[in-house]
């Protein structure tokens, strides 16, 4: 059997998730790993939107906010199990993405960027100001997912850090699997066609606005689930999760690692999650170093870090 790029990517991810813990000197590294996977999941959504369909969203953190606050609020107010709250958050994010995207994505150009920017800021404002519901800028407690307790009853006793490391890792791999399947499907091919040229795609019969809308809705679900995972892991959430900076972070991670490739984008998420931890010695220069890394990548490695490196390794000069 020939190793397809899809299987290769999934194998690499699975191996990384399974093997790296053997090199962890302390439990703290599980936390960093879990954060990388949560970010990796959100960024996989960006790959579908930006890498496949060529659209830019500057408000994806808003969906992460919806997913996160769904886990905080639905169990308390609606009596839902936190796992169902994740689903509810994803459905709400998808519905909102559909509502916002439907009129906007009929237009060409950067309208989605501007509209999503406004949407993200609005969600963040609602979370900050509707104190009766969200308890405002100070944040709100999130109930326990309870899965760790279930595993314990089955005889699998994981620490909190270990549990979230493996759980987030598995969800991220599932997300990557879905994204890679989409890539190879007719929809994925049509998306890439419209990325190349909207007019050409339309000429050969691709329903451009419907496809762009699909990509936007799917990527919103990814962001929402990542927000839910973050909230459940931290057992606490503040409106920062929906903040503008978080949206920018997601796009930056994808672009840095390579927005056209799932593995590349996850690689970017890994680097941008790790850097602040490595750079604590230079905490005051952190932003500067991040900016510098970003600039260098944009100038010298335009496809993003991973695809450029892989190409160098293969030695193909195309």
């Amino acid at each position: 059997m020939k190793l397809t790029p899809k299987t290769a990517t999934l194998l690499v991810l699975a191996a990384l998730v399974a093997i790296t813990p053997f090199f962890f000197p302390s439990g703290y590294y599980y936390r960093v790993g879990a954060l990388i996977f949560v970010n990796g999941l959100a960024v996989t959504g960006i790959v579908i939107l930006t890498g496949y369909a060529g659209q830019v969203s500057l408000g994806h953190a808003g969906f992460a906010g919806i997913g996160g606050y769904a886990c905080a609020l639905a169990p308390v107010h609606l009596g839902l199990h936190p796992a169902l709250a994740v689903v509810l958050g994803a459905v709400m994010s998808a519905a909102l993405a559909w509502l916002v995207g439907r009129p906007i994505l009929r237009l060409k150009g950067y309208y989605l960027g501007v509209a999503s920017l406004g949407m993200g800021i609005l969600i963040s404002m609602v979370l900050n100001n509707e104190r009766w519901l969200t308890r405002g800028p100070d944040g709100i407690d999130v109930p326990d997912l309870g899965l760790r307790g279930v595993l314990k009853d089955w005889g699998l006793n994981l620490s909190n850090g270990e549990f979230w490391y493996f759980f987030s890792g598995i969800v991220m791999i599932l997300g990557a699997w879905a994204a890679l399947n989409l890539h190879q499907s007719p929809t994925g091919r049509a998306l890439r066609a419209l990325h190349g040229s909207e007019i050409a795609a339309r000429t050969v019969g691709v329903d451009v606005s419907r496809l762009k809308l699909q990509a936007f809705v799917i990527s919103a679900v990814y962001a929402s689930v990542s927000g839910s995972l973050l909230a459940l892991q931290n057992k606490f959430i503040t409106p920062d999760v929906a903040g503008f900076m978080h949206s920018i972070e997601m796009v930056t991670m994808a672009v840095l690692g390579g927005a056209g490739s799932v593995l590349g984008a996850i690689f970017g998420a890994g680097i941008l999650t790790l850097l602040p931890q490595v750079l604590t010695v230079f905490a005051e220069y952190e932003q500067m170093v991040l900016g510098l890394v970003m600039m260098l990548v944009m100038i010298f490695l335009r496809e993003g870090l991973l695809p450029s490196i892989l190409r160098k390794l293969r030695g193909t000069g195309e």
Partner: protein, 379 residues
């Protein structure tokens, strides 16, 4: 490129290895020294650095040197939680000081509780210690106490009907809610309730509404940052002519400068003794402590002292007291912190109990009135 990488790695390693000299008790801190809350976190970080230096120069605690592991979370609760995990799991500290904001504190709490490491927060909200959590303490007064102090003073002046104008930021909104919760205890009624966005440049419409409400005898403005200065200026321009109360959130000289000496005249606000170190009577038990801290901080950093640095001072001194008594075991440290009694700090006199992990009462606040651009104590 290769040489550059090697140099960078060598530098990183040198920086990482340098402070590892013979430290025996490790204490951790995650503070918001940069970002939107840096005006709180920066003096806190400087205070901790100064105090650890002082303690080590004086021979450490019971002969053991202190090592401070400090991270900057930039005010991001998610980062704060990661750094707290790092402090607990990787650096293996004996106790954590930090959580500059309520948001960062609330995300550190589960980590400290799970790992059973004592944690002293520097944030304001009453939720941090109410309900009491075994491993969590805090040093700053709560906004509920500020409300009580203000209402006590209003009551003395015979005020029964007030207007409130609150900021919609975390501080203003939380204090607004707390004040509404306790106002009934003082026989006072809120007859006008207005809000403003912290970025607003003019509060005249809200103040006009308050001014036109019948029977108002005083106005209270929970908020911090520039909002309260603008309220104070507009208040003067509208010639409302009733007593104006500000919160402890603006207890700094910067507020008087921004509002203007003329507009700030007669404004009252509750504040910690640290702010008025010079005019405290010599009989005041806090006088010696606050003067010493202020002089030390200003000499070391060249910047004026703030109550926020004072919260870090109190947290460190309470922890130091516990370490002297209990040694380096987290559980023993926790018990010793809970047993703190009669500690005289910058924020007041602290008497902790199993039910009270703050240990301050209303005497911790002084009621101040601004006269001729300076503070005076109201008694």
């Amino acid at each position: 490129m290769n040489r550059l990488t090697t140099t960078a790695i060598a530098t990183l390693m040198a920086l990482g290895l340098a402070p590892a000299a013979q430290a025996e008790i490790k204490i951790g801190a995650t503070l918001s020294a940069t970002g939107p809350a840096s005006f709180l976190g920066d003096p806190e970080a400087k205070t901790l650095e100064m105090l650890v230096e002082e303690v080590n120069a004086a021979g450490g605690i019971n002969g053991e040197m202190l090592e401070l592991v400090m991270y900057d979370d930039g005010g991001d609760p998610n980062k704060a939680r990661t750094f707290a995990t790092r402090l607990v799991e990787d650096d293996e500290v004996a106790a954590i000081i930090g959580g500059t904001t309520t948001g960062t504190t609330m995300s550190i709490i589960p980590v400290a509780e799970d790992a059973e490491i004592p944690f002293i927060s520097l944030a304001g909200a009453v939720d941090i210690i109410d309900p009491v959590k075994a491993w969590v303490f805090k040093t700053p007064h709560t906004d509920r106490m500020a409300c009580q102090k203000i209402f006590e003073d209003m009551q003395k002046r015979g005020v029964t009907k007030i207007g409130m104008i609150s900021g919609t930021d975390g501080f203003g909104a939380s204090m607004q809610a707390q004040c509404k919760g306790v106002v009934g205890d003082y026989g006072i009624e809120i007859v006008a309730d207005e809000t403003y966005d912290p970025k607003d440049a003019d509060m005249t419409p809200q103040l006009t509404n308050i001014k036109n409400t019948a029977g108002i005898q005083a106005v209270l403005n929970p908020g911090f940052g520039q909002g309260p200065s603008i309220v104070t200026r507009n208040y003067k321009q509208l010639a409302v002519g009733l007593p104006l109360y500000q919160s402890h959130g603006v207890a700094s000289k910067g507020f008087i400068d921004l509002a203007g000496v003329e507009a700030a005249e007669g404004v009252r606000l509750p504040a910690a003794a640290l702010l008025v170190a010079d005019i405290l009577p010599d009989s005041d038990p806090q006088k010696a402590v606050v003067t010493a801290y202020r002089d030390g901080f200003e000499k070391k950093t060249g910047t004026p002292v703030s109550t926020f640095g004072g919260h870090a001072y109190d947290a460190f001194m309470i922890l130091k007291g516990a370490l002297e008594k209990a040694g380096g075991e987290p559980a023993a440290i926790r018990d010793a912190i809970e047993g703190t009694t009669g500690y005289v700090g910058t924020g007041g006199i602290v008497n902790m109990t199993a039910e009270d992990h703050l240990g301050l009462d209303l005497t911790a606040f002084k009621m101040l009135e601004i006269k001729n651009g300076d503070w005076t104590i109201v008694e």
